[in-house]
């Protein structure tokens, strides 16, 4: 009798809860707030969450439908990331943010099969740019190969267009993520004539003595870093230790946050990194964030990371997700969109500078449009430099475009090889 009553209560609760869940737009986040990489995962997750809170509080959701934001903790662990995906795949996730290249590689075939779109902003499998093969994966506005090419284009500018007699070291996290730029830099070294030396660092990267002794012996002109987590401040500290000229040390966008330079103190002054978006609170959107999220105490984190590089990145990712959802609503004429509709929104997303101004983020990110042939956006990035005295990143260039001709050539090779391995016929979905 008790069991029957319990079952009836449970059923009634589920029925009552059903419409509430259905009338929301579910944006999950595979976040990592614990583990060795938590320091980078937390601000991203907070920025991602706070933007959705802003949209709910200020606009009442997207197209009148409230956002339901959920998090699943991966601890930056691939197995746990896959488990997280399995737990949310049946809950109409509109877009998956794996926030890890390792997890991305595992989820690409699963999301394809389940029909769930995935956004890997500035990470993941680079050849997902080819939407004819990777129908469900998007990596706009830039990817690793873009990043590598932007750095080389910047160095070309710095060296009057010639890098023939230069030696460049790539110091990389010895993982799927860290190895991504090697093919691009290898091709660019063959094309431009610079000497490329690749040096790996095992995860997590707290001990880099051998690597920096080698760098000291090799005396490279530039060091390019593809690091994450503790590898970044350790490398910057080691560079300062051997008195490597910091202005010749350039990191990817995952090696260019406050977390990477603050532990090093004065030694990090002059270090450079790629920026795929602006940073700081000098954007009109922060007024709304302050009024609707921070001041009412609705922020996801401590509130003190607002405006930092990784918080800005999380906020930017959420903004792109919201704009894609709006596009999907326009395309399909319904407010309560499904993951398949969201995919259409992502595949037809157009970000213009006018829109960025309207959103309170002028010149925060590049203008780009997504198409089946290009899920990767413009690939443009800026260079930022750390000022240890002021304790801030300063943008020192405008948007620099990558060598898209070379990158698309490589994208086609890799994506078509993937299609052949998986017995797929590349085609557009819309």
């Amino acid at each position: 009798m008790t069991m029957t009553r319990l079952a009836a209560t449970l059923a009634a609760t589920m029925i009552a809860a059903g419409p509430a869940l259905a009338d929301t737009l579910h944006f999950p986040n595979l976040s990592y707030r614990t583990g060795p990489f938590a320091a980078g995962g937390i601000p991203f997750a907070d920025g991602y969450a706070d933007y959705f809170t802003l949209i709910n509080e200020r606009d009442g959701g997207i197209g009148g439908v409230p956002i339901r934001y959920t998090e699943c903790e991966t601890a930056y662990n691939t197995e746990r990331g896959v488990e997280c995906y399995q737990s949310i795949r049946g809950d109409s996730p509109l877009v998956i943010q794996p926030l890890s290249t390792g997890i991305t590689y595992q989820l690409i075939p699963r999301t394809m099969e389940d029909g769930v779109p995935m956004h890997t902003m500035g990470y993941g499998r680079t050849s997902a740019v080819n939407g004819e093969v990777f129908n469900w994966t998007f990596n706009y506005p830039a990817n690793y190969w873009d990043g590598a090419s932007v750095i080389i284009n910047y160095l070309l500018d710095e060296n009057d267009g010639a890098l023939e007699d230069k030696k460049i070291v790539l110091l990389y996290h010895n993982s799927a993520y860290g190895r991504e730029p090697i093919p691009t830099l290898t091709r660019l070294s063959e094309r431009l004539g610079f000497e490329l030396l690749t040096i790996g660092v095992d995860s997590p990267g707290q001990e880099q003595g051998s690597q920096w002794l080698q760098i000291r012996r090799e005396r490279p002109d530039y060091v390019v870093m593809w690091g994450w987590g503790v590898m970044n401040p350790t490398a910057i500290q080691e560079a300062a230790n051997i008195r490597f000229p910091m202005e010749n040390f350039i990191g990817v966008w995952w090696s260019g946050s406050q977390q990477d330079v603050l532990p090093v103190g004065e030694g990090a002054h002059g270090y450079k990194a790629l920026a795929m978006h602006g940073t700081g609170t000098d954007y009109p959107i922060y007024e709304d964030l302050m009024n609707y999220v921070i001041e009412p105490g609705l922020y996801a984190g401590t509130g003190d990371e607002v405006g930092t590089v990784l918080y800005s990145r999380g906020m930017y990712a959420a903004m792109l997700a919201v704009e894609a959802a709006k596009t999907a609503q326009e395309i399909h004429g319904v407010a309560n969109i499904t993951p398949a509709m969201m995919r259409d929104g992502m595949a037809n997303l157009e970000i213009t500078e006018e829109l960025m101004v309207e959103l309170g983020l002028p010149n925060f990110g590049p203008a780009f449009s997504v198409a089946c042939e290009n899920h990767g956006g413009s690939g443009a990035a800026m260079i930022q430099q750390w000022d240890a005295n002021a304790g801030e990143w300063n943008l020192i260039t405008d948007w620099i475009s990558p060598d898209r001709e070379l990158i698309m050539e490589m994208v086609m090779e890799d994506s078509l090889a993937f299609a052949a391995e998986n017995d797929m016929t590349p085609s557009c979905m819309n």
């Binding site: 614990t34 003595g209 051998s210 603050l262 532990p263």
Partner: protein, 328 residues
Amino acid sequence: MPDTLLFAMEATLNGLTAGVMYALVALGFVLIFKASGIFNFAQGVMALFAALTLVGFQSGQIPFSHLINAIFGTRLHHFGWNMPTLLAIPATVAVMILLAILIERFVLKHLINQEPIILFMATIGLAYLLEGVGDIMWGAEVKALDVGLPKGMSDTVDELTFNWFGYGFFIDRLELWAAGIAAVLVASLTIFSQYTKQGRALRAVADDHQAALSVGISLRFIWVLTWSIAGIVALVAGIMWGSKSGVQFSLSLIALKALPVLILGGFTSIPGAIIGGLIIGVGEKLFDFFMQPIIGGATENWFAYMLALVFLLFRPQGLFGERIIERV
């Protein structure tokens, strides 16, 4: 002198100093294993917790402020003052002693006479608990740790070696300091265990629990003492590693560097931890130096374990460990 030889000498020198850093972590494991037979899985997390606490005290951070703010809707973060390092270190030592008392009271006391594997599993739980408490207490953001230790290239070594060989060797001053601190630590531990009443009691418990109990030595007191000393050693390791790359949660992974050191040096020998650390440090640097051009870099992590594996085949108890004799 050929360049290769000079570079190999530089790598050896750096291996020695890196080895001391590994040994600092390994020492904490040895102390607890020697006194209680427990392999303390939480030693790396203890180093992290100690470093977090030190930075927290230094910067005047309010412990558990995130939790307090979440519950009461307040916006507390800092007391508004900074604690001098000379005061923050003793305060952290006090916290580590309190932690040792709590561990004994709530974990070890209830596991007397249990199998070593049970105690080991308890320390796994302790590691997760401590990591979580550290997160809630001090937050998970990266923190800069500065206790005034010098960092960067040693000009003295650079100039000296340049005058001798025509090539200046690189040595990090922080690692030179670590070597000095490790020497003081080992000397202090030796004096403590040889010449003090508590130290002799600790050795007695390490030799034979039953015999020590029969002469009136309190096992519970010795456990608190051992875990307190291990906590202080963890603080030293946390300071040295935290000064290198900031205090963040990956600091707990330095324990992984200590395991091969322990296998080499033996789980019960303090000099073994030092010698093991030096062998691992020099071995991995030289291996990387000679093999990098052939097999690529990133050999440091797996090489240490491979070396330990080879050692296990020939001397399972380690270089200085007690020989295992089982009578049938």
